[in-house]
């Protein structure tokens, strides 16, 4: 913010920001452990766990068999018994295998024990398409948002990747931390001081007056690209990065939409029952009818075929064209003479 001295930062790749948060947290407390496929000496499929095995050893950085259901269940059970585990599910597509212990046990444990047990487990999983095909590309975070007792975050930049991981370790219950294949190699400034990004707090990344774009994770970059393109056409877009999907910061989104008067939601997952659908419904509950457009992947599997993958995923031109259509609709709606029958 202007007027405040700029905090000292370091430049880290997204994957390094995750690693730094884990290193700091594991140094604080021996109960914090990491488990998953190839998290040990290999350092994680995206090198986000690099260095942890060397520092903390095989007991706290545990390679597991390919058994997501058991891994998530063991993480949930260990959390209920006093550890603070992070379970890595390499591809979000495979979180489906771990949903039974996560949803049926972890998310309900505090409730079903009358508050006597909780399962503070972090399930870190990687979403998004980058040429890996129909069962290694999905963004199913919207499924998880409807589970009472489960929190969901999805950072879009290294600072939040760091800050939300720090926040995840403060949670008393289960939380799913969604990162993204295309974000790992992206650099950004991360505060040198230990910093927590609070859950349930969206970030306004760009101010604008004509339209609010609400998004999260890698699509935040697509939204910013689209906003820049529209700016050249004289359309001023505000971009809100949700960061946290459950809890959802509908206050920040609503305040933005109240200013701009129109909402476009953007996600890489499906629009049907998607994050944007929920955002739009909650905003309209607060503000009444507003012009809304939802942009997401086409209603089809995401192929590893480069042409088909690109055709399926939302990109800046698709966002621009949806925004133009939305604003055109608003303009054509707005000046219409209204016959007042009082």
């Amino acid at each position: 913010m202007s007027g405040e001295p700029a905090a000292a930062t370091e430049r880290l790749f997204f994957r390094e920001a995750i690693g730094r948060a884990l290193r700091e947290e594991m140094r604080i407390d021996p109960r914090r452990i990491v488990m998953g496929q190839d998290v040990g000496a290999f350092g994680g499929s995206y090198r986000e766990f690099e260095g942890l095995f060397a520092e903390f050893g095989a007991s706290r950085v545990r390679d597991t068999p390919v058994a997501e259901a058991a891994m998530v269940g063991i993480g949930v059970g260990a959390a209920a018994a006093g550890l603070r585990p992070l379970v890595s599910v390499t591809y979000m597509d495979f979180i489906m295998l771990g949903l039974d212990p996560l949803v049926n046990y972890g998310a309900k444990l505090r409730y079903k024990t009358g508050g006597r047990l909780t399962a503070p487990v972090i399930v870190k999983t990687t979403s998004g398409a980058r040429g890996q095909g129909v069962a290694h590309s999905q963004c199913v975070e919207a499924w998880l948002m409807s589970v009472p007792g489960l929190k969901v975050v999805a950072p879009s930049n290294p600072a939040d990747a760091y800050g939300l991981m720090k926040a995840a370790f403060l949670e008393e219950g289960p939380i799913v931390y969604v990162d993204h294949k295309r974000l790992f190699p992206i650099p950004g400034e991360v505060p040198l001081a230990a910093t927590v990004t609070p859950l349930g707090l969206a970030a306004v990344l760009r101010r604008g007056t004509d339209l609010t774009i609400v998004t999260h994770s890698f699509m935040t970059r697509t939204a910013m690209e689209a906003a820049t393109a529209m700016s050249a056409q004289g359309v001023s877009c505000e971009v809100v990065d949700l960061r946290s999907l459950a809890p959802l910061d509908i206050a920040t989104v609503s305040a933005s939409v109240r200013r701009t008067g129109a909402l476009l939601t953007l996600e890489e997952g499906q629009v049907t029952c998607g994050v944007g659908t929920e955002v739009a419904a909650q905003v309209q509950q607060r503000l009444g009818p507003i012009p809304v457009a939802r942009v997401g992947a086409l209603a089809a599997p995401v192929s590893s075929n480069p042409v088909l993958e690109a055709a399926c995923l939302p990109d800046a031109p698709r966002v621009v064209s949806a925004a133009v259509a939305l604003l055109g609709r608003r303009r054509s709606d707005a000046p219409r003479p209204v016959s007042r029958k009082s």
Binding site: A78, K112, T113, G114
Partner: protein
Amino acid sequence: MDLIEALHSMMLIRAFETALARRSDHGFQLLSSGEEAVAVGVCSALTADDQLLTGGRSIGPALARGLAPDAVMAELLGKASGPNRGKGGRGHMSDASAGFFGAHAVVGGNISIAAGVALARSLGGEPGIVVILFGDGACGAGALHEVLNIAAIWTLPLLFVCNNNQLSVSTPRTAALAPKALSDLALAHGIRSASVDGMDVVAVHQAAAAASTAIKLGEGPAFLECTSWRFASHSTSTRETRGQAEMAAVLARCPIARLDAALSTSGALTPTIRADLERQVDAAVAKALAFADASPYPERDEATTDVG
């Protein structure tokens, strides 16, 4: 092993479940009548440091672990005086402070949880073992097979106890599970395993105690199959599929009558002692019902408390 105490414990479970089943205000219940020797035999081999987790058929195990009948009855009848304020209820009761980490009524769903509890123990250097009690139904589920493998490679202090009552609702074990003995499932992972007569509380106790000792010596997990017979249908709202002749043969295997006969023959159990045990059990059940009936339900507001 105190055999009179074992008899008392089994009689309490039977009387408790019989009284509960007569009620109409509990929805339905998953009874373990007929399987008391598994619960009592295993729990009599445990110490205060150990933790027990179970599937949904958990009334017998909870009582055998030493949870107060008052509290168990209150929880099962949905009362706020239960250990989980009546919010867990049937199939989800828990009192970790009493060594009963809890029930979880997803078949096979508590097995990986138990392995996690065992991992926490192991990393924390805490004494005691973790016992996961599940039915033969869970032996067809992937969770068991995944966890057997991990428990073996991580030498977790985990005792797998399969209460093989030979029926998954109506489906016989022979139609659902390929292994000749369910304890064979452990062999592929190099896990110490045994199969015992689950209607013989002494045999169950001895096998559980031996397994527990081996686990505490650092030998890694163990697997115990206890073959039993369920006296009731799957749940109090499920129709019985077995005929009269079959049921008569099943009921003739009663683990309580079996221990009673053995103790009477040896002279350890006299009619006076038995009458005294019956009086104690009946009084405990009556007190539990009175306690539960006198307790309030949770307030409606509690539908949204302790959620997340």
